[in-house]
């Protein structure tokens, strides 16, 4: 299996779901002053995507960040905009600090619907 190609395909499928929050007609919240809104969430998601797109698609940090952004989107779909912001912040922190990376010889493997996707170091 071509790990890089599979990873890119998988990442695209996963990440494409995160692009669905552009509609302003999200579930009507009764956001009180100071509480996060859909707009805050949408902006945070876009910031996270912009950050993630700037680093290599082979990067384990990018993979982690994109998964955080997916979590953020799921929170928003449930009307939990505070949770959305928290996960978006985690994505940005991941990209900024590269907490996850693969040294030479290290591998990261995750199941896909048809097999598995694998990343191999060095991805820094």
């Amino acid at each position: 299996m071509d790990g890089r190609k599979t990873m890119l395909q998988f990442a695209f499928a996963v990440f494409s779901g995160a692009l669905l929050l552009n509609s302003p007609a999200m579930a009507e919240g009764v956001a009180e002053p100071g509480e996060p809104t859909l707009e805050d969430c949408t902006k945070a998601l876009q910031d996270g995507r912009d950050k993630a797109n700037k680093i290599s698609a082979k990067s384990l940090s990018r993979y982690f960040a994109e998964r955080f952004l997916q979590n953020a989107e799921a929170e928003a779909g449930n009307g939990e905009f505070d949770g959305c912001l928290e996960y978006a912040e985690k994505a940005i922190d991941e990209i900024d600090n590269r907490w996850h990376w693969l040294a030479p010889g290290e591998t990261f493997r995750v199941m896909t619907p048809t097999g598995y996707m694998e990343l191999r170091g060095d991805d820094r």
Partner: protein
């Protein structure tokens, strides 16, 4: 033949206790009907059964479909598409209130379940899928395109309930439709209303009462229509709009909701605030956490309904910046401590403050399952959550456990189960265990919470005086001042847990202890005592206590009399090897009753006192964020752990499998010349309510 239990002295008990001399005599196991022996025959039914009441699917913010989740949680062996099933004994589907935009008959693409892709209600209206047809999204329209949402009350009625009926019959297990209530003014709470739910019965009933509560009282449910009759009129009257509700006003809506449950479903519902430290202290201008006065308000409003607190799930979320339990630095306490929030982890903390009033206020644990973070639903590693039954187990009494096995059917109780007959039955298969047993066990406090299978389903924790029956968790032992109290404890440490990792625990490696992560290990058990000084009236000094975010919140002491009265190392207990390789540990201790009521609770861990970066010198858990200071150096350490200075650190699921605890609810002790405790009065209230219904 009964094993001899070592007699271990309670050397530092509360002020009401006096030390007595050690004795080598075995504890008298007695012949009364409340004798729940420390012996457990391994081929007999377990005294307790494991469950989970807080978890999610794609109906809200989870990652897998309703049906897929139930199959993985309730089934045994390996799932058809791969991945282990977790064969939990009972299950409550406790999903968020509010709304959701995904069609939860499908898993999310991110879960990597074969054949499943993220699907929205907007894509499937009018289609029959899994035998369920959703013709329209009911109530106040909200959202457009793929962001059109289904309000959760409709989802509970038309999606989750049909799946619960099917799966409870398929697996012949207790399955309950619950809710993670987004509480007005506060964080979240687990809620269940079992009245009407009879999924294994001839008439399966409905989850309409659960749905109605969600519609009326959830902070994120802003639908103002709800279900309608043939004339188009709303059928659920009495909704208080969430608009403009913050702080104390919102809190009053929460109190109203609990009052409603107490009035309508006093023995068949519960409210258990969850991850209650996460959002920091209560905010008078928003919707955030809880202070102790709010728990007191809820317990006052719902004495047989609002009886506890749940520790956080999300056990594998801890990264290099902390985050286990999904607790950030702004949480009260600044994070988790031994995978508990500070309210329950701290000796003398908020939980002890509630117990110090003699309240019926108990602790529980659940998974808060959403996803496996950077992994798919079938992977065995996780950077976020564990499946229900994989890591956390909430044990409640098993009504199928009876004296024919040489044991008692009451688990040391004193007849409290008499209200069972008034609950809402569901079994029609000869099994005695029913949904009302789950609620009864929780309400009575006869339950304990276990992570990583550090102990099994047959814990004994009981006490008795020179006369009368054993009393167990949630019960009150009445003695005369000066009486000798015998306390007995037994736990089984299983041979394995669900960890996929066979390398040694990095936290224990610091001490030269080699212990594989997939083999449970119990280092010691703490017996914790605190004095009971009586109920504080609303508005009286001490009823409200200032709270604080972050590590400042760790310093707050609510019951200064609380202490670790005795720490019992497993090496000093009597060990009996079972045929399956597991070990049964037993011990007995004695104490002399004083003139002040008190309680005894217990916890245990795999971590010795003074484990660097994990426990202090007395054995209390440190802020779990400190675990990141420990390198995971084994060649088998997985690559998904966070790295600092080019080394893998004890984070995520490796942290959770390394830092393992159990907690049990307290036994109360009252001198006979003292007035009854609130926990006793509320238990009697439950008895009266049972007799009345």
């Amino acid at each position: 033949m009964l094993p001899r239990s070592k007699i271990i002295m309670l050397t530092a008990a509360s002020a009401s206790l006096a030390m007595v001399g050690a004795t080598t005599a075995n504890a008298d196991n007695g012949n009364d009907r409340n004798n729940n022996s420390v012996v457990h025959h391994r081929d007999a039914p377990n005294p307790y059964v494991a469950g989970d009441m807080h978890n999610h699917n794609t109906c809200t913010d989870g990652s897998v479909s309703v049906g897929y989740a139930l199959d993985r949680i309730l089934g045994s062996g390996t799932a058809a598409a791969g991945g282990p099933n977790f064969d939990i004994d009972w299950f409550t589907l406790g999903n968020h209130g509010g709304s959701g935009n995904r069609d939860c008959r499908f898993s999310d693409t991110s879960a990597a379940v074969p054949g499943e892709t993220t699907t929205y209600w907007n894509n499937t209206l009018g289609q029959t899928i899994d035998g369920i047809t959703i013709g329209s999204l009911k109530g106040t329209p909200s959202g457009s395109g793929n962001n059109r949402v289904m309000w959760r009350w409709q989802n509970i009625q038309e999606i989750e309930w049909p799946y619960i009926v099917r799966r409870s019959q398929q697996y012949n297990k207790v399955v309950i439709e619950g809710l993670e209530w987004i509480v007005p003014g506060h964080e979240h709470a687990d809620v269940g209303v079992i009245t009407g739910q009879n999924p294994r019965g001839r008439h399966v009933g409905s989850a309409d009462n659960m749905a109605k509560f969600e519609y009326l009282y959830d902070r994120n449910d802003n639908d103002l229509i709800g279900p309608v009759d043939e004339s188009g009129n709303s059928v659920w009257a009495g909704k208080i709009s969430n608009a403009g509700l913050v702080g104390d006003n919102a809190h009053q809506k929460a109190v109203t909701a609990v009052t409603w449950l107490q009035s309508h479903y006093p023995l068949s519902s519960y409210v258990v605030p969850t991850h209650s430290e996460r959002q920091g202290p209560f905010s008078s201008t928003g919707n955030a956490g809880y202070n102790i006065e709010h728990f007191r308000d809820l317990n006052n409003a719902g004495p047989t309904v609002a009886f506890g607190i749940e520790s956080p799930g999300h056990f594998a979320e801890g990264g290099v910046n902390g985050g286990s339990g999904s607790y950030g630095s702004g949480a009260v306490g600044g994070g988790t401590y031994g995978m508990q929030g500070i309210y329950t982890a701290k000796i003398g903390g908020l939980w002890d403050g509630m117990l110090g009033e003699g309240r019926n206020f108990f602790i529980y644990v659940s998974s808060d399952w959403h996803s496996r973070g950077s992994f798919g639903a079938r992977d065995t590693s996780t950077t976020a959550d564990f499946w229900p039954g994989e890591y956390t187990k909430l044990y409640v009494p098993n009504s199928n456990y009876d004296s024919q096995d040489g044991h008692d059917d009451d688990h040391g109780g004193d007849g409290k189960r008499s209200d069972k007959r008034h609950g809402n039955g569901q079994g029609n298969d000869g099994s005695d265990f029913e949904s009302r047993d789950v609620v009864d066990g929780m309400r009575q406090g006869n339950s304990y919470s276990v992570n990583a299978d550090i102990i099994g389903p047959d814990m004994v924790f009981r006490a008795r005086g020179p006369h009368g029956d054993w009393k167990t968790m949630g019960e009150t032992l009445v003695v005369d001042p000066g009486d000798m109290i015998t306390l007995e404890m037994a736990v089984t440490v299983p041979t394995k847990n669900n960890s996929p990792y066979g390398f040694n625990n990095p936290l224990l490696e610091q001490l030269g202890i080699s212990q594989p992560l997939n083999k449970p290990y119990l280092d010691h058990i703490d017996l914790i005592t605190g004095n009971i000084t009586g109920v504080i009236a609303p508005g009286a000094p001490g009823y409200a206590v200032p709270n604080a975010a972050g590590t400042a919140g760790e310093a707050i002491v609510y019951n200064p009399s609380t202490k670790i009265a005795k720490q019992v190392a497993t090496s000093s207990m009597t060990e009996t090897r079972n045929r399956d390789g597991s070990s049964r540990f037993t011990f007995t201790t004695r104490m002399k009753a004083g003139s002040t009521p008190f309680y005894i609770r217990t916890r245990g861990t795999n971590l010795p006192p003074a484990t660097p970066n994990a426990t202090d010198g007395e054995g209390n858990p440190l802020l779990d964020k400190n675990n990141v200071n420990v390198v995971c150096a084994d060649p088998a350490c997985p690559s998904h752990l966070g790295k600092v200075n080019n080394t893998l650190r004890v984070t995520n699921d490796v942290q959770a499998w390394s830092n393992v605890w159990f907690y049990a609810n307290p036994i109360f002790v009252r001198p006979a010349n003292q007035p009854k405790l609130l926990v006793e009065r509320n238990a009697e209230l439950a008895e009266r309510l049972a007799d009345r219904h």
